[in-house]
């Protein structure tokens, strides 16, 4: 199971890195969105598979809740990942807002054009507004 999941993780990582290296900011945002899944799943997979051998059969272990009587999976990675999911959400929401702000200010989402010299994004705060007002 770990092998299968790690293949999934590898694929998600590859795709998200591909997106992160993209030339447009929307692609980058999608890459950030996706990479969290791979990282979280990776932490979970690295804590071992949730399977146990009962006689000749392999059964899933129980969730990390006391009193079920079954051996449970490690609760710590889950607590860590829960935090990571929440933070990941905050990062994506903030990043997307920045995207909106960037576009509104510069009318540009292509990274190479944004980095080009003379782009309004590099003007000191307020200069863009004045320029737009003048134009």
């Amino acid at each position: 199971m770990t092998l299968l999941v790690s293949i999934c993780i590898g694929v998600i990582f590859a795709v998200s890195f591909y997106l992160l290296m993209g030339k447009e900011l929307k692609e980058v945002a999608m890459g950030v969105f996706l990479i969290g899944h791979a990282a979280n799943l990776g932490i979970l997979a690295m804590s071992g598979q949730p399977l146990m051998v009962v006689g000749s059969l392999v059964e899933p272990k129980g969730p990390p809740i006391l009193g079920t009587g079954r051996p449970m999976v490690d609760p710590l990675p889950q607590a860590l990942i829960l935090t990571a999911i929440v933070i990941g959400f905050a990062v994506v929401a903030f990043l997307l807002t920045l995207l909106v702000a960037t576009y509104r200010r510069t009318h540009e989402l292509w990274i190479d054009d944004l980095a080009a010299e003379g782009n309004p994004a590099f003007l000191i705060d307020g200069a863009t507004e004045r320029k737009n007002a003048a134009a």
């Binding site: 770990t2 092998l3 299968l4 790690s6 590898g10 694929v11 998600i12 990582f13 590859a14 591909y18 290296m21 030339k23 929307k26 945002a29 999608m30 969105f33 899944h37 979280n40 979970l44 997979a45 690295m46 804590s47 598979q49 051998v53 392999v58 272990k61 969730p63 990390p64 809740i65 006391l66 449970m72 999976v73 490690d74 609760p75 710590l76 889950q78 607590a79 935090t83 999911i85 929440v86 933070i87 990941g88 959400f89 905050a90 929401a93 997307l96 995207l99 909106v100 702000a101 576009y103 509104r104 200010r105 009318h107 989402l109 292509w110 990274i111 944004l114 980095a115 590099f122 737009n132």
Partner: protein
């Protein structure tokens, strides 16, 4: 060690700064009071040292060292060593300082603003300098050392409106400051090598030779760094350029810094270290040549200067070189060789007896008057170049006379202390030439330097004597304090300049005005006293000389004249050559020191280098940074995995294939779904579809969480996935459709690199996961399991006759059965607290950013976009942002009316069962958020209006407040931050009711999550509406 000794030292060190700082409290016009208070500070400092000598004697050895611990953990303590050397320097600093205070009063005249600012800075500098010479702890000395650099920066850059002065001040600060850093390095190495953190301890350890052997190799490095520190401070070649540059300061500063204090700090350091390090073979060969070169260079450049202050500055450089050279030559074994038989050469085997401390005093006694009088001439006569000062004897006889007397001492002519010192030096050099002919080189350099000094004297006297020729020069008015804000200024009320307008016209007459030249006369008098009776001085200074006890051998003038020999001949040659050079037209044209370019050129070169590096490293292109980070990640991962044999081969358990078919199917199915959706994303054109596929992939991951037996994770991820996709779609509506076709090169490269990274990380996960499964490693998880409900068992249950009498006693635990939830709200509560704070900050960021860049103000101008682009990118979207939100259909509205209450009830249920079953604040908050957000989308902005005064921001604030209050309450009960409590409330008959304070914390989490999620979606919707 306490007692009066400590207080005397503290007064000596800090009185000038404290008194001078107190003058800031005086009203500005109170010039006399200001001067008197500052004088009192310097006087107390000098007096404390005198009192120390008279009452307790001069301290020797560790018993005399006084001080108190300051920061012992870093070996910094405030200890002071009142030994002869320190006391001598201290008296020099405070004594000359006392006269400089008076001089500054005469120099600045009634310019109250200058004095208001000047005295505190001067006091700060003086205290720093006193600290340098009296501190015993090396780090304390370094602290004072750096304080002198800082305060001298303020003094040199006194004319802060003059960019040149500021530049020169920066040059001095950078040079001496870097030297200070080198000194710090040297101190650390030295302390490591000797195990001592005090100067006295280091010297004792070095001279006793009892050193820890393992660090002995460090001593040369320590010496090299400390030498660098001393050489920069004492303006040794090639760092001497800052000293003449420091002449930008007002003359009182130059007179103080360059005669007795700042530049002597480096020499002081050499004097301190001399007893410990002189026996090492590197001491002499380093100090002597550097000093000799500096000496000759300074002399030459002094002759080639025309500005009075500059001439004296270069002679200072020359003298500092001489002093360094003296300390080099005094090293034992340097002149006569390490293997020399002490008996053969008598006392000289220990090195030359050169009286360097006497020379320090000697230098101060003529250099301070020279600077003082140079300032007076510049100020009163209004001219600063030597050739402009013709006829000064007639104009200002007293100034010219004192200047000539001091210059006579500079030249080392008979009847001065200088002459005696020069004879002694030449005598010793002559002795040294018996050991090696090489010392004739230093002898020749000394003679040439003396020649330069003599020629300066000759030029000064002849110029002063000459008749002024030509029209009077324009007054030199570049003095900082004589600027426009000076109340007594150029307006004298006379049309034609009268005698009192010609000079002294912006100074008052009388007692205070005389102090512009009187200090020079007082100080220079000692030169002639010493010249007539060197023994009198020797009796005083001889105790301080660390390298010889033969102070009474200092030759008097009569002794020198009655014992003619090679030294006297050398003197005569120097005087003859000097007089000839002084009278000749040779070397009259001033030149610039080529070393002046060192600092500016280095500065510019470093800036250029910085620009090159910056341009190389900071391209400003986001993709570049991504490539850099991913490349570093890849290299790091490969290096780690390559270095760890356990990660080379994943362990494949294959346990899954023995499980039930349904489990296998779900694992394989979900994996396939994840892989397929992920791989589809790069190939999909439409951005909406892309986001939906992203969401699908997320849902598949959610399923995977379920298979990993993580119900809390699955629920959280599910809800967040919904909200994230919603946000994504809303944001996409604010952004343009794909722009017109752009070159899409580099896709293959990206794909290949991405695959490399993906394979590496996948491999890493598989390898670590397999390793964890196949090995019985220690985990943290079981601890959380054991302590989740209650802590460890303290006492087992007592069972009597099969009936439980007393229940088992346990340590306090988290009181919940859902280990993940208890971990979040209890064990790792700090994490959760930080996390909801991050959420809140992100939400605030979203609110603020959207408020700063409203869509209406940022419509692209027609010039920014071509017409087609404009149509494609903006017109199509921007104008048609309708009020209609797609979701708002009657069917959905009806459904949402029913769903919302149900969802909120479900959220409440999730909230309360969270401690024991999957659920909790996060999940409950998310369930409520999703319902509220969709409801908000369905019914439009009126929903939020109806909820007033409850706003998302209020929700967030309240949530954070509740969480923080719950966390902080235990502090008031004497418990740890975030400590939770739980227990049962007995209810008659039925099951007891379980309570836990963690629920309040979870309530805070709930409110924050609702506020953030609903707030962000509401804000984005508002933007679209």
């Amino acid at each position: 060690m306490e007692g009066p000794g400590l207080w005397m030292m503290l007064v000596a060190v800090f009185a000038p700064a404290i008194a001078a700082a107190l003058t800031l409290l005086l009203p500005r016009p109170a010039i006399t009071a200001r001067t008197l208070v500052t004088l009192a500070g310097f006087g107390m400092s000098f007096g404390a040292l005198c009192w120390r000598i008279s009452s307790l004697g001069v301290g020797h050895g560790p018993g005399a060292i006084v001080g108190f611990p300051f920061a012992e953990s870093i070996h910094l303590s405030m200890t002071f060593n009142p030994d002869p050397l320190g006391l001598f320097f201290g008296m020099l600093v405070s004594g000359i300082g006392f006269l400089i205070v008076l001089y500054a009063r005469g120099y600045c005249g009634p310019d109250r603003d200058s004095l208001y600012r000047f005295y505190p800075t001067l006091g700060f500098f003086a205290s720093a300098m006193m600290g340098v010479v009296l501190a015993d702890n090396m780090l304390a000395m370094l602290t004072f050392w750096e304080m002198t650099s800082l305060s001298s920066f303020l003094l040199i850059g006194w004319d802060r409106d003059n960019p040149r002065a500021v530049k020169l001040a920066v040059q001095a600060l950078a040079t001496t400051g870097l030297g200070g850093l080198a000194l710090l390095g040297g101190i650390l190495l030295m302390a490591t090598a000797t195990g001592q953190w005090t100067l006295s301890g280091v010297v004792a350890a070095l001279s006793s030779g009892e050193l820890p052997q393992q660090h002995a190799g460090m001593i040369p490095w320590a010496f090299a760094l400390m030498f660098l520190g001393g050489a920069t401070k004492s303006a040794q070649w090639p760092f001497h350029y800052w000293l003449p540059g420091a002449m930008a300061a007002p003359t009182p500063v130059s007179a103080y810094l360059h005669s007795a204090t700042m530049v002597k700090a480096g020499v002081y350091l050499f004097a301190r270290l001399w007893p410990g390090l002189e026996s090492f073979e590197f001491w002499g060969p380093t100090l002597a040549p550097v000093g000799a070169v500096t000496m000759l260079l300074g002399g030459y450049l002094a002759v080639r200067s025309s500005e009075l202050k500059k001439i004296f500055a270069y002679t200072t450089v020359s003298q500092l070189g001489l002093l360094t050279c003296m300390y080099g030559l005094s090293a034992s074994g340097f002149v006569h060789g390490a293997g020399a038989d002490p008996s053969a050469h008598g006392a000289e085997a220990a090195g030359l007896a050169l009286w360097p401390v006497m020379q320090i005093l000697n230098h101060a006694l003529y250099k301070a008057p020279l600077f003082i009088i140079a300032g007076a001439i510049m100020h009163i006569a209004g001219r600063k170049e030597l050739h402009q000062l013709k006829g000064l004897f007639r104009e200002h006889f007293h100034l010219a006379l004192v200047c000539a007397l001091a210059a006579y001492a500079l030249a080392g002519l008979p009847l001065t202390l200088s002459f005696t010192m020069k004879e002694a030096f030449l005598h010793q050099i002559h002795e040294a030439t018996h050991a090696s002919g090489w010392f004739w080189v230093i002898g020749a350099m000394a003679v040439l330097t003396a020649m330069c000094n003599v020629s300066i004297f000759v030029r000064i006297v002849t110029t002063f004597w000459m008749q002024p020729t030509g029209a009077p020069e324009a007054r030199y008015e570049d003095d900082p304090h004589a600027r426009a804000d000076n109340p007594i200024s150029h307006d004298t009320g006379h049309d034609k300049p009268g005698p009192e307008d010609d000079h002294l016209y912006h100074h008052e007459h009388g007692f205070w005005a005389a102090w512009i030249w009187l200090p020079a006369a007082i100080i220079v008098a000692f030169q002639y006293i010493g010249g007539v009776a060197p023994g009198w001085f020797g009796g005083f200074v001889g105790h301080v000389e660390t390298n010889t006890g033969a102070w009474d051998q200092l030759p008097s003038l009569w002794h020198a004249l009655s014992h003619p020999g090679v030294p006297l001949a050398m003197s005569a040659v120097a005087i003859t050559l000097g007089v000839l050079l002084g009278l000749s037209p040779l070397w009259r044209r001033p030149i610039d020191d080529p070393h002046n370019a060192i600092f500016p050129e280095t500065y510019v070169a470093l800036q250029r280098l910085g620009a090159v590096v910056y341009r190389g490293v900071q391209s400003g292109n986001f993709r570049y940074y991504v490539y850099a980070m991913l490349g570093a990640l890849f290299v790091g991962l490969v290096a780690t995995m390559g270095g760890d044999a356990g990660l080379h081969k994943p362990v494949i358990s294959g346990a899954l294939w023995n499980a039930r078919f349904g489990l296998i199917l779900s694992v394989v199915g979900l994996c396939t779904l994840i892989v397929l959706t992920a791989l589809m994303i790069p190939f999909v054109r439409s951005r909406i579809v892309r986001v939906l596929i992203l969401g699908t992939c997320g849902f598949a991951v959610t399923g995977m969480y379920l298979l990993y037996q993580a119900p809390d994770l699955a629920m959280t991820q599910l809800m967040f996935e919904i909200i994230s996709v919603l946000i994504f779609l809303l944001v996409l509506r604010m952004l343009p459709e794909e722009a017109p076709k752009r070159p899409k090169g580099g896709r293959i490269g990206r794909a290949v690199f991405g695959c490399f990274l993906g394979v590496t990380l996948g491999w890493l996960v598989a390898a670590i996961g397999g390793y964890v499964e196949s090995t019985d490693i220690e985990r943290l998880g079981p601890w959380f399991e054991a302590n989740s409900y209650h802590g460890e068992m303290i006492a087992p249950a007592i069972v009597e006759d099969g009936v439980q009498v007393a229940p088992a006693q346990y340590a306090r635990g988290g009181g919940g059965e859902n280990v993940v939830n208890v971990t979040l709200v209890d064990f790792r509560g700090y994490d959760t607290l930080g996390e909801i704070t991050v959420l809140s900050i992100a939400a605030m960021g979203v609110f603020a950013i959207l408020a700063v860049v409203p869509a209406s103000r940022f419509k692209p101008s027609a010039s920014q976009l071509s017409s087609t682009e404009f149509a494609a990118r903006f017109d199509h979207r921007g104008v048609k942002y309708g009020r209609q939100i797609m979701l708002s259909t009657p069917l959905l509205q009806t459904t949402m009316r029913l769903v919302l209450p149900l969802a909120l009830i479900f959220a409440g249920y999730e909230f309360f069962k969270g401690h024991n079953e999957p659920g909790g604040g996060f999940i409950a908050g998310l369930v409520a958020s999703v319902a509220l957000a969709v409801y908000r989308m369905t019914f439009g902005p009126s929903v939020m209006k109806g909820l007033k005064p409850i706003t998302p921001a209020l929700c967030i604030a309240a949530g954070l407040l509740i969480a923080l209050t719950t966390s902080a309450t235990p502090l008031f009960l004497g418990e740890a931050f975030l400590r939770s409590a739980n227990g049962y409330i007995e209810r008659g008959g039925s099951e007891p009711y379980h309570w836990a304070t963690a629920a309040f914390f979870d309530l805070g989490v709930f409110l924050v999550v609702v506020g953030v999620s609903v707030g962000i979606i509401n804000r984005l919707l508002e933007e679209l509406e």
